[in-house]
């Protein structure tokens, strides 16, 4: 019981925290469905729901798995939810009694409106607090019920609610996309979120899909994988594994087409953000080679981003803002972007080795610290008076090439997306080929145990330098594209936070995983841009996302696929092998 109360208190504390930072009141008007389901109301019940779910989970006690009965799950959920709600209610009543203005002196986001909202607008507040406790208890029961209700009922409901909420959050994006392809949107969206009718339809579809999946799931899965259920793998020669089926081809083709039509339908605001996502995917892929493959923790990766951007600016006719008006930098060339880029990439690889050389002997924490310093030096240098004649100091550089081909400017967000996509595909290809070669093996060995790798014939010096060079080269493409995208650059874009953001992408997605980098960039860079309302809370969400993912899924969102698959297929391979050996033994037994 102690545990249940503690969980409830923790949930209440989270809600209070969200209230104190202003998240609750800020979104009182953000409707998700109809006018009734607002984001703020959702926040109030989310924490009780989660703690209600958490306390009902089966758990391991003294080494034994202890399952929880349905009654316990519901009861504990109710108690935990009620405690969470009561804590929030008590806090609201206390603030009200103490005087909102006095509390506001410290917590500036606390307003009378917030207190009224939390106490459900009832007078006196204590009544509202009791009401909130009751609602929270219900939310807690629902959380506990997640363990009680059988899968075939639970899954469709959860999937329906999740889909409705997701579309509710995407109310700035989805209608625009639908309008672009001439779809009627009025039935689904109003100016404030989904309509109830739309929500019901969407929920119904999601539930239907979920039911279909439970019902015919294995058939569909086999169709996608191109295998048939019960095919013996490896026993009778080569089974038709990995053979392409029609459905699989359709899905892959659909995804590819989706990638290409995406910017055409989502509108220019989202296209612009997708371009940024592409730049960060490139940065992530570069850093993935250094951190994910070679295991060198580099916190100064922004250096390559800056180098790529400024070098592109200098080589493609960028100009400086100075006191005498617009002047060319001291080193100046007016090359085509496509001539300049290979030069930039080669130089960046060289810079990578220059940065790598002094830190070759450092490991782990020390390496991280020194690279952090080197990255910061780059940020300071580009803003310094010393380099002002070259890169323009704080005022930066302008008039950078838009990389136009035949009059098609890549400054346009939609066109830029395709240019960046091409380089992302190239970088994915290069990363994958390198990883699955002798070089990738050497990096992996070095990451696992540097000294042993050396003693097994791998020149760790060369391979560290190579990792820095390849990482630098790919990162500089990200910088070059960034310069093309916005046309003018200032030191403000190359602060140390970029390094941390890219590292966050790589770690969140899963170290060493290429799809992970893409997903990580979409989540950490794409989502904050699409959910514009939350922009001011993006760092809060960022931190929370990292903490949650690292606690629940330390291997990342999309872990390094190869190893995961190996672990799963191990058992089947083992069975096949054992059967084979058994057969051999039987044959030998007959012949002797």
């Amino acid at each position: 019981m102690n545990r249940v109360v503690k969980a409830g208190l923790a949930g209440g504390a989270v809600t209070i925290f969200l209230g104190l930072v202003g998240l609750i009141e800020r979104f009182a008007d953000l409707s998700l469905v109809g006018e009734q389901v607002t984001f703020s109301r959702l926040i109030l019940v989310v924490a009780p729901f989660i703690v209600g779910y958490a306390v009902g989970r089966p758990r391991v006690e003294h080494g034994e798995r202890r399952s929880i009965t349905a009654r316990e799950a519901l009861l504990w959920g109710a108690v935990a939810g009620a405690v969470a709600g009561a804590l929030v209610g008590v806090a609201a009543v206390a603030v009200d009694a103490f005087g909102v203005e006095r509390v506001r002196a410290v917590f500036i986001q606390v307003t009378q409106g917030l207190i009224d909202f939390v106490t459900l607008g009832l007078e006196p507040p204590i009544v509202g607090a009791i009401g909130l406790t009751a609602i929270s208890a219900v939310a807690g029961v629902l959380g506990g019920a997640m363990h009680v209700v059988p899968d075939r009922i639970r899954k469709p409901i959860v999937s329906a609610i999740a889909t409705i909420l997701a579309l509710g959050f995407l109310q700035r994006v989805v209608p625009v996309a639908m309008a672009e392809i001439d779809l009627e949107t009025d039935w689904l969206y109003t100016s404030a979120g989904l309509t109830w009718f739309g929500a019901a339809v969407i929920g119904g579809i999601a539930a239907g899909v979920s039911i279909l999946k439970t019902w015919k799931g294995d058939v569909i899965r086999d169709a996608i994988r191109g295998t048939t259920t019960g095919s013996q793998i490896g026993v009778e020669g080569s089974a038709p594994r990995g053979g392409t089926s029609v459905l699989r081809t359709v899905i892959l083709g659909g995804a590819a087409v989706g990638l290409f039509v995406l910017p055409l339908v989502v509108g220019s605001v989202v296209s612009e953000r997708l371009g940024t996502v592409m730049v960060f995917i490139l940065l992530g892929l570069g850093l993935n080679i250094v951190v994910g493959y070679a295991g060198l923790l580099d916190l100064g990766y922004v250096a390559f981003f800056a180098f790529g951007a400024y070098a592109t600016g200098i080589l493609t006719g960028g100009m400086l803002n100075s006191f005498e008006g617009i002047t060319p930098p001291v080193i100046h060339a007016d090359l085509s972007f496509y001539v300049a880029l290979p030069i930039v990439v080669l130089l960046a690889a060289f810079v990578g080795m220059l940065i790598g050389a002094p830190v070759l002997r450092l490991r782990g924490d020390y390496l991280a610290l020194v690279t952090l310093g080197l990255g910061e030096m780059v940020s300071v240098l580009v803003a310094s008076p010393w380099l002002t004649p070259l890169v323009g100091g704080p005022a930066g550089m302008r008039d950078i090439s838009d990389a136009a081909i035949g009059g098609i400017s890549f400054r346009d967000p939609k066109n830029f997306y395709f240019l960046a996509l091409a380089f992302v595909i190239l970088a994915l290809f290069v990363s994958r080929r390198l990883y699955r070669s002798r070089i990738g093996r050497a990096w992996t060995a070095m990451r696992e145990d540097e000294q042993t790798a050396d003693a097994m014939g791998i020149s760790t010096t060369s391979y560290k330098l190579l990792a820095f060079a390849m990482g630098g080269a790919i990162g500089s493409i990200g910088g070059a594209l960034f310069a093309v995208k916005i046309g003018s650059i200032t030191p403000a874009s190359f602060q140390v936070f970029v390094s941390l953001q890219v590292l966050g992408i790589v770690i969140l997605g899963g170290l060493g995983s290429l799809p992970g980098v893409v997903v990580g960039a979409l989540v950490l860079v794409g989502l904050p841009g699409i959910l514009r309302e939350f922009e001011e809370y993006s760092f809060l969400a960022y931190g929370a996302a990292l903490v949650i993912v690292m606690l629940l899924r330390p291997q990342g969102l999309v872990p390094n696929v190869r190893r995961t698959r190996e672990l799963q297929e191990e058992e089947r391979a083992q069975d096949a092998w054992a059967a084979e050996k058994e057969q051999e033994a039987a044959v030998e037994g007959v012949s002797t």
Binding site: F429, V430, R433, L434, S437, R438, I439, G440, R441, A442, T444, A445, E448, D449, Q451, T452, A453, D454, A455, M456, G457, I458, S459, T460, L466, M470, R563, E566, L567, E570, A573, Q574, A576, W577, K581
Partner: protein, 265 residues
């Protein structure tokens, strides 16, 4: 590399290694001829592993010389020595735990291949052939230990192996570097008696079938007796006896070093 048969493959002269005031190796002389199996024995702390670490370039010696095929190899990095044909295993097994068994062995072949960045990205026919060859050679090295490291096991991560199999994989990885000289640091530590006897045969086979020259640090006297052409006993970083197993086993100073008292008393 053709070397006259009488020239020692490995020759250690007056080797010194100090850690602060501790003399881990002191005026140590050792010579190993081609195709020999030499055991190095001695109590804990006698400097045996330090000797291996100096030979393989992990430590720089403080004095003396290490000659391999007649040429001094002092100052060369470990990976350069692997390329010259010196492979080793570690006393505390050091595999690449998250790589598969096959990949571990393929790392051994790294130094015998030369595929570069551009070739690997473009996957040229040359690179593909080379990868094939690396894989074949790795499978061959794993096959030395029979089915234990072969078959379905090759695609399992190294951490899934039993302790004895980890030791075997470490040896297979060393053999995959195509060495002339292999240094085994306590290869039977942690193995049960049956596995130990089996490994004794493997060590002999390394020499007889693969033509390797073997130096082995070993505590299990049945193994030492079973494999050694010559035994060198060390204590306090110095050689205290050398000869056949029987000669060394009955040497007064060796018995004293092991038992800590004068045997004659």
């Amino acid at each position: 590399m053709s070397v006259p048969d009488d020239l020692p493959v490995l020759e250690v002269t007056a080797l010194e290694k100090h850690f602060g005031g501790l003399f881990a190796l002191s005026k140590l002389d050792i010579a190993v001829r081609r195709g020999e199996i030499v055991s190095v024995i001695g109590p804990n702390g006698a400097g045996k592993s330090t000797l291996f670490n100096v030979i393989t370039g992990i430590y720089e010696p403080d004095g003396g010389d290490v000659r391999y095929m007649g040429e001094s190899i002092v100052g060369l990095r470990p990976h350069q020595l692997v390329k010259l044909g010196i492979a080793r295993t570690f006393q505390s097994v050091r595999l690449f735990a998250n790589m598969t068994i096959l990949e571990n062995a393929m790392v051994g072949q790294h130094c015998r291949a030369r595929g570069g960045v551009f070739g690997s990205i473009l996957r040229t026919p040359g690179i593909r052939d080379e990868e094939e060859r690396i894989k074949e050679r790795a499978i061959e090295a794993l096959g030395f230990f029979g089915p234990r490291l072969s078959g379905y096991r090759m695609d399992q991560p190294a951490f899934s192996l039993s302790y004895a199999n980890r030791r075997r994989l470490e040896m297979a990885r060393a053999m995959a570097t195509d060495p002339y000289l292999i240094l085994l640091d306590e290869p039977t530590a942690g193995m049960n008696p049956r596995e130990t006897l089996e490994l004794r045969d493997h060590i002999v086979r390394m020499r007889d079938e693969l033509g390797l020259t073997v130096v082995v640090i070993e505590h299990d006297m049945r193994v030492v007796k079973g494999v050694s052409d010559r035994v060198i006993a060390c204590d306090y970083g110095q050689k205290i006896a050398e000869g056949t197993y029987d000669e060394v086993a009955h040497d007064e100073r060796v018995v004293e070093a092991y038992l800590g008292t004068k045997a004659t008393e």
